[in-house]
């Protein structure tokens, strides 16, 4: 019978009884803590339940409950007069959101696919950048510099989502012209130093998103490479494999779970992201699907927005389950 931990944090501390050295027992067997111990002893499920009760209850009730309520809310009919959702069930919104054969819905579908494409592109770019960097830090860099490098690579993660989005806006602001945001007519960093900037636009969106999620991809890949036993690589080269072959046949397959873990963030977060894209796009067009959801919500048409939210939600849940199969969750 293994160890057990009761959720004893809430129990009042016992009075200072001295250790009864003669009898060899620390506290009398009538002590309240003993009774609690007796209840939990051998009843593993009770122990698990006591510990998990609060967090699981919270997550299930508040989070999963909210998600379910969201799905249900997509079924409510919007009262056209008060613009508020009623409690009448209708599949009107679902039909409106999923009516893929209706040309009216095609712009939204196009935006969704565009967003998904951007999410895949961002994932790919993050992977392509993170892989050599993580490999360098994990396997090539001398040991003394490794810790410092990892820390240096991860710290920007914590600078803040909005701060980083705003920083890229300051970087790519174009000078003058019709794109100039008021007060930023001279152009941002890239413009004033290099004389060129991609300006507000799609490229800026992709770059900003890569910038945001890159540390999320570097970390799991680094951890995965770190776990790779060097003897494996030595064995491969002993068997005559050139470094690239070793990389392709040994390292990459073993990195699959790590890459899957990293891609969860780069894909899923990009799919729903709309704030930073708007910041670096100067709000010019509805590029990302999240903007459509947000705009629908503000229409106000909450049930329809909820129906639209189902698109990324379903895709992401499927993606998460697929990544779970790939072993990502051991690596988070």
């Amino acid at each position: 019978m293994g160890e057990r931990l009761d959720r004893s944090a809430g129990v009042a501390e016992p009075s200072t009884e001295q250790n009864d050295a003669t009898s060899g027992r620390a506290f009398g067997s009538s002590h309240p803590m003993r009774s609690i111990n007796r209840v939990f002893h051998g009843r593993r499920r009770l122990g698990v339940g006591a510990l998990l009760g609060a967090p699981l209850g919270w997550m299930l009730l508040i989070y999963i409950g909210s998600l379910l309520l969201l799905v249900v809310s997509a079924l409510y009919r919007l009262d056209p007069i008060t613009q508020k959702p009623t409690h009448e069930l209708t599949n009107q919104n679902l039909i409106a959101a999923f009516k893929f054969w209706d040309p009216d819905v095609w712009p939204a579908i196009w935006v969704f696919f565009r967003t998904a494409a951007v999410a895949l592109l961002v994932t790919l770019l993050c992977f392509l950048i993170a892989l050599p960097v993580a490999f360098f830090v994990a396997k090539v860099a001398p040991r003394w510099i490794r810790r410092g490098l990892v820390v240096a690579l991860l710290m920007p993660l914590w600078a803040g989502y909005l701060v980083k989005g705003y920083a890229w806006r300051a970087m790519v602001s174009p000078a003058g012209g019709r794109f100039a945001a008021a007060g930023q007519g001279d152009g941002g960093f890239l413009e004033s130093v290099f004389g060129w900037t991609p300006g507000f636009g799609r490229m800026a969106i992709v770059v900003a998103l890569v910038y945001l999620w890159l540390p999320f991809m570097i970390l799991p890949i680094y951890a995965g490479l770190d776990r790779l036993p060097p003897s494996l690589l030595d064995a491969a080269s002993d068997l005559g494999a050139k470094p690239f072959r070793t990389f392709r046949s040994v390292v990459l397959p073993m990195l699959l779970p790590s890459v899957a873990a990293g891609s969860i963030f780069t894909f899923s977060l990009t799919l729903g992201d709309y704030i930073v894209p708007q910041i670096v796009n100067n709000g010019q067009e509805r590029f990302m699907f999240g903007t459509i959801i947000n705009a629908t919500l503000g229409a106000p048409n909450q049930p329809l927005a909820a129906a639209y939210t189902l698109w990324p939600l379903v895709i992401i849940i499927l993606y998460l389950l697929a990544m779970k199969r790939a072993g990502a969750f051991e690596n988070l």
Binding site: L5, G47, G160, I275
Partner: protein, 272 residues
């Protein structure tokens, strides 16, 4: 695996480039917060001023937003720590049916994009829940923000504590029980000191995460309450306030990064 020298140099160079890529935008914002001009052009080495910092300190908007952010982050951090620690203790010590489902559940709030979480929570908070005897509506404001933030901060605390628990030997607890300690003694003398720095690290990271969060916040804050990221979002396109935004963004950055570094050191210091 021995790589050739050119290959190793190339990798080193690429890593260096990546580091520059990561830090350059942040350095630009930092520099701009000291820039007397209101533009975002690179001012080079001319013009340093602390005026904007002083104005930001004096202005009501950013200061109130900052205080609000701190309040929310602090309470959310406490909640997240409690819930995350409980869950981590259960997951680390017991085998039970549904383990992987629980870890999936813990990660979900942070893995799903903010807009999904935000809309879902906003929907729930705006509804009047009728429980027969009484009905209540969560509403919006400080409390709704705390609930929302705590929900996605739990995983941060959970990860830190469970990593620490996994690293430590289970024999310690058994030995403690063998020596006659009951539950709360074991917790107080063995488990808690073991977890202490992991709790601190998880708490710091949860604080930083909540402090900086914007997407879920816009959906769950309501109209009367504004956190610092909300303030930044509302003001970054107003030409008058651009310098203040520079200052506040720099402030967030300069506070969060050392905190995260501290958390990293704490979580490493643990048992080994």
């Amino acid at each position: 695996m021995k790589l050739s020298l050119p290959a190793r140099c190339a990798l080193a160079g690429f890593t260096l480039l990546t580091l520059v890529f990561l830090y350059l935008p942040l350095a630009v914002v930092l520099r701009l917060s000291f820039n007397p001009a209101k533009s975002v052009s690179w001012p080079g080495f001319n013009g340093y001023t602390l005026d904007w910092w002083r104005k930001a300190w004096e202005a009501d908007g950013p200061k109130e937003a900052l205080i609000n952010s701190c309040k929310v982050a602090f309470v959310a951090m406490i909640l997240a720590l409690v819930l995350g620690t409980l869950a981590a203790m259960a997951m680390a010590r017991f085998q039970f049916f549904g383990r992987s489902a629980v870890s999936f559940l813990m990660v979900l709030p942070i893995a799903l994009p903010g807009i999904v979480t935000g809309i879902a929570l906003q929907n729930t908070f705006s509804r009047t829940i009728d429980l027969g005897l009484f009905s209540f509506r969560v509403g919006f404001g400080f409390h709704s923000l705390v609930i929302a933030h705590a929900t996605f901060c739990v995983v941060v605390a959970y990860n830190n504590v469970i990593a620490r628990l996994r690293r430590s030997s289970p024999n310690l607890l058994e030995a403690s029980a063998d020596l006659g300690a009951h539950g709360s003694q074991t917790f107080r003398y063995i488990t808690f000191p073991l977890m202490r720095s992991a709790l601190l690290a998880g708490g710091i990271l949860a604080f930083a995460l909540s402090f900086d969060e914007i997407v879920v916040t816009t959906f769950t804050a309501g109209s009367g309450f504004q956190t610092l990221p909300q303030w930044i979002l509302a003001n970054f396109s107003r030409p008058q306030n651009v310098p203040l935004v520079n200052v506040m963004a720099t402030f967030v950055m300069v506070v969060s990064i050392p905190l995260a570094y501290l958390a990293q050191r704490l979580s490493d210091s643990g048992t080994d």
